[in-house]
Amino acid sequence: MSIQKIDNVTRRNFIGGVFSASALVIAADLLPQAAWADTAEYHGKAASAALKPSLYLGLEPDGTVYIVTHRSEMGTGIRTTLPLIAADEMEADWSKVKIEQAIGDATYGDQNTDGSKSIRGFFVPFRQAGAAARLMLTQAAAAQWKVPVSECSAMNHEVTHQPSGKKLGYGALAVAAGKLPAPKPEDLKLKSRSEWRYIGHNAKDPKSIADLKDITSGKAIFGMDAKVPNMVYASVERPPVMGGKVQSFDDKAALQVKGVSQTVSIPPFQAPYTFQPLGGVAVVANSTWAAFQGRKQLKVEWNNGEHASHDSERYKAELLDTAKKPGKVVRNVGDVDAAFAKGGKIVEASYYVPLLAHATMEPPVAIAEFKNGKVEAWVPTQNPQAVQDTVAKALGIKVEDVTCHVTLLGGGFGRKSKPDYVAEAALISKSVGKPVKVVWTREDDIKFDYYHAVAGMYHKASMDDKGKVTGWLHRSVFPSISSMNDEKALYGFNVEYGMGLNDMPFDIPNHRAENGPAKAHVRIGWLRSVANIYHVFSGLSFADELAHAAGRDSLEYQLELLGSGKILDLKPQLNGQEYWNYGEKIEQYPFDTRRLRKVLEIAGEKSGWGKRKPGNGWGMGVAFARSFTSYVASVVEVEVDKAGKIRIPKTYMVVDAGTVVNPERAVSQFEGAAAFGASIALTGEISLADGRVRQSNFHDYPVARINQAPIQTDVHIVESEELPGGIGEPGVPPFVPAFANAVFAATGKRVRELPFSKAKLV
C-alpha cells in the first residue's frame, strides 16, 4: 500500500531516525537540518536512511531508494513525476524506488500544491538531490577501489570502474557514501539532456503512477478512507448565508438519534473569512451515517447577517453594468479613446461567467486529534503547511504543535488548499476529547465552497477598413480572491490581472485593460486556472467575433493579432504594477508570443483547420492562451443537433510547456482539462437567492459525463528545451473559448454568457 496504514504512519519508530552529521541539505532555500530532526518520527525512511544526501532522498544498504514527495497528489501524477527526476539524476533503478509522502513542514520548502508550479519550483532541487547521491556513491566506490573518481561512472544502480570493469551496487555503497562529506552544489554535475533516461521519456516508456494498483484494487487511502483508533464522526450544520451566525439551536431530537453522542458549537469566523471555518453546529456520532441522521434533526435559528439579500440575477446585472463604466486602469498601450474616436468599424460585447464550484469527487474531509495541547491531522490537502497555520490559529497553539499527514486527494482543483474543514475537525476534537473525522456531504461541498469568481466583462474594439484592429478595450469586474483577507476589497490584484487581463498578448497599437469594483458575498477562491477562465473566455471569444466582423478566418486572424512574434515587455504598460508572471522571474520565463504562434499553427495543421465548411450543426473553434508559463492552443470540434444538444467528437490540444518531465501524465492533464473546460462551458453555474446557494448536488450542479466531455482529445506536446512550465491548469483557459467559438461556427449563435445550457442554440 502506497500511503501506509494510518496507525503505522503515526506510530512507527525509526532507528536512528534523525540526521547524521554527514547529512547534506542541498536546496539552499531550505531550512537547516535541525528543524527536521526534531520531528524525525514523522519524516519516514528517507530521513533515517544510511545515505541521505537531501531532504528528498535516502538510500538504504539493501539498495532501496526512498524519495520524498512533499507536494500533494490530487491527480496530476506529481507523486510519481518528482521522484522520476531525482531517480534519473541518481541513475537509480526505478523498480528500487519507494515513494514517501511528506508531512507538512516548512523544511521542505513550499508545499502548496497549486498554481501548476510543482515542477517549476522543484525540478532543480530534485535533480540536485539525485546528482548528489550519484556523486557520493561514485566517490565511495572510487575510495574502496583506491582509484580516481574520474575513472568511475554510475549507471542504473551501480558504479563501474571503467578501466577494470569492476562494479559495485548502490546498496553496497550506501553506508560508506553516507560517511562522506557532502558535495557542494557547485561540484554537482547534472546529467545532460541526452543522458536522461526517465525525464521526458515517459511517453514511450510509461512509468505507471505510483498508486495505480492501489487505486484500481480499492486499497488506495484517500482522506475519506483514513481511520485512526477511537475515532468518532462529525457532520456540521453551517450558516446558510456567508457570515451568518447561530442565534440558537435545539439538539434534543438530534441527540435521540442512535449513535449520536453530542453536539459541538463551532464559532463563526472573525472577518475576514480567510481559511477559518464558517461556524455552526457539529453533530458527533459513532458512524458517518448516524452523524448525518442526527444533523437532520438539528433545529438551528440563524442570524444571517449582511449577505442575506444577495441575489445572483441582480448581482449579474450590476457586474455587467459596472463593466460598461470606466474602471481602474491596469494596463495601457497607446490611446484607445483616440483610436475609437477615429471611427472605423466598432465592435462591442459583454460576457458573463457565473460562480463555479470545485466539486472534487471526494468532498472535503479531515481527521484531527487534539491531545496534550497538540494536534495530529490526516487530511487530503493541497497545502499541509496551511493546515498547520490554520489549525494552530483556531486552537491557539503553536504551528509546530500541529502535525499534518497528507493522504491521497480525491481531486483538488484549488478547493483543498483551503483547510477550513481541518480546523473544524480540530475544534470538535478538542471539545470531544477523541480523534474526530469531519465528513462533508456533497451538499456541503456545493453550498459551502470557496467559489470561483463570477465575472462580468466588456470588450470594445475598433478596426480599419482592412479589418485590422486599431484599438481594444477590455474591462473586467469580479469579486476578488483578495476578499479572503480583506472583506472590504472591491478590486482585484496583480495575480488576477496577470491571468489574461493585463497580459493579453495581441500586438495592437492601442489597448487598455480596466478592472471595475465588485464586493464579495460568498467566499471566493481559486479554481483550476483561476481568473484565466473568465478573461480568456471573453478575450478569445471576442477575438473570434472580430475575425467574423472582419470577414476573416479565425485562426488566421488570431495569428495576425499576435503579430510576428516577440518577447513582451509588459512592465512599462502596467501603471507601475508588477506583472505577476505566475510567480516566476520574467527574465527566466519571458512571455514569448512566438511560442503562441507556434502552438496555434500546429493546432491548425493537426486539426485540419479550414478543410471543412462549418454550419448546419457542425463547427470548429480555436483559441489559445499562455498561462502558468505554458503556451497552449485548443481546437474544439462540435456537433449540435436539432434539439440543441451539443456533442464534442474531437478536441486538439497543442502544448508548449518547455521541458516536460512526464509526458504521459502531461497528456492526461490536458485530456482532463478539456473535460473540465466542458463542464465549465456546458453546465457550470452556482447561483444564490436570499444569500443562499441554490444548487446542492450533481443534479443541479452537473459536471461533464462520458457522453458530454470531449469524446477524443488529441494532445500534442511540442519538443522544447525551455524551462519547465505548468501542466495541470493551462489546458483549461483556451478550451472554453475554443468551444464557444465552435458553437458559433456550428450554429451562428454567439454564447457570451456561460453556461451554454442557458442559451438557446436552435
Binding site: 497528489e73 490530487m74 491527480g75 496530476t76 501524477g77 510509461p206 505507471s208 503512477i209 498508486d211 495505480l212 494498483k213 487505486i215 484500481t216 484494487s217 480499492g218 488506495a220 487511502i221 484517500f222 475519506m224 478512507d225 481511520k227 442512535k258 458512524s287 458517518t288 451515517w289 441522521q293 466539486a359 472534487t360 469527487m361 471526494e362 468532498p363 491521497l408 486527494l409 480525491g410 481531486g411 483538488g412 482543483f413 456531504t441 456533497r442 451538499e443 504521459e664 492526461s668 492533464q669 485530456e671 482532463g672 473535460a675 473540465f676 466542458a678 448536488n697 450533481f698 443534479h699 459536471v703 461533464a704 459525463r705 462520458i706 457522453n707 466531455a709 469524446i711 477524443q712 482529445t713
Partner: protein, 151 residues
C-alpha cells in the same frame, strides 16, 4: 438481523435497516474501496454489485440487500487482476483515482451483460459515473481492451 454475503463471506447486520449499504461497507467492514461521492445515486463512485447487477450503494438501504450477494471492488478479483483492472493499468486511466473503483465496478457489470459493447453501449452504460478529472476517453479505451481480452 439482516443476513447478506459480501465478497462471498456471510455477514449479519443488526443496525438501522434504513442505513445505506455504503456506510456498512465503509464504516463497519472497513472496505473503503467503495467511495462516497454524492449520497444520492448521481455520481456512481459507490457502485457495487448486488447479485451481479451494478447498484449505487449510497442509496441502497441495508434492508434491500437482505439475503443478497454483494461484490465490492475488494472482491472483484483475487489479486486486483480482473481484465478491467489490467486494462485500466495498461491505459494509465486514473488521475486522482477516487471515482475509478466505481467506474470499474460499473464497467464489470456492463461487460457481464454485453460482451462486445459498442461506443454507444459504453456511453450509455457509463453515463451514470462521473470522473471530475476527465479520464473518460481512457475509460472507454480500457473497457474495449478488457472486452477483447474477455472474449
Amino acid at each position: 438481523m439482516i443476513k447478506l454475503k459480501v465478497n462471498g463471506r456471510e455477514r449479519s447486520f443488526d443496525g438501522d435497516p434504513e442505513m445505506p449499504l455504503l456506510w456498512y461497507l465503509r464504516d463497519e467492514l472497513a472496505m473503503t474501496g467503495t467511495k462516497f461521492g454524492c449520497g444520492a445515486g448521481l455520481c456512481g463512485a459507490c457502485t457495487v454489485h448486488r447479485n451481479g447487477e451494478a447498484i449505487r450503494s449510497c442509496s441502497t438501504k441495508m434492508k434491500d440487500v437482505a439475503g443478497k450477494a454483494i461484490t465490492t471492488i475488494e472482491g472483484l478479483s483475487p489479486n486486483g487482476d480482473h481484465p478491467l483492472q489490467k486494462a485500466w493499468a495498461q491505459a494509465n486511466v486514473p488521475q486522482c483515482g477516487y471515482c475509478q473503483t466505481g467506474q470499474i465496478m460499473q464497467a464489470a457489470a456492463l461487460l457481464k451483460k454485453n460482451k462486445k459493447p459498442s461506443d454507444k453501449d459504453i456511453e450509455d452504460g457509463m453515463a451514470g459515473n462521473i470522473c471530475r478529472c476527465g479520464t473518460y476517453q481512457r475509460i472507454r479505451a480500457a473497457i474495449k481492451t478488457a472486452a477483447k481480452e474477455m472474449a
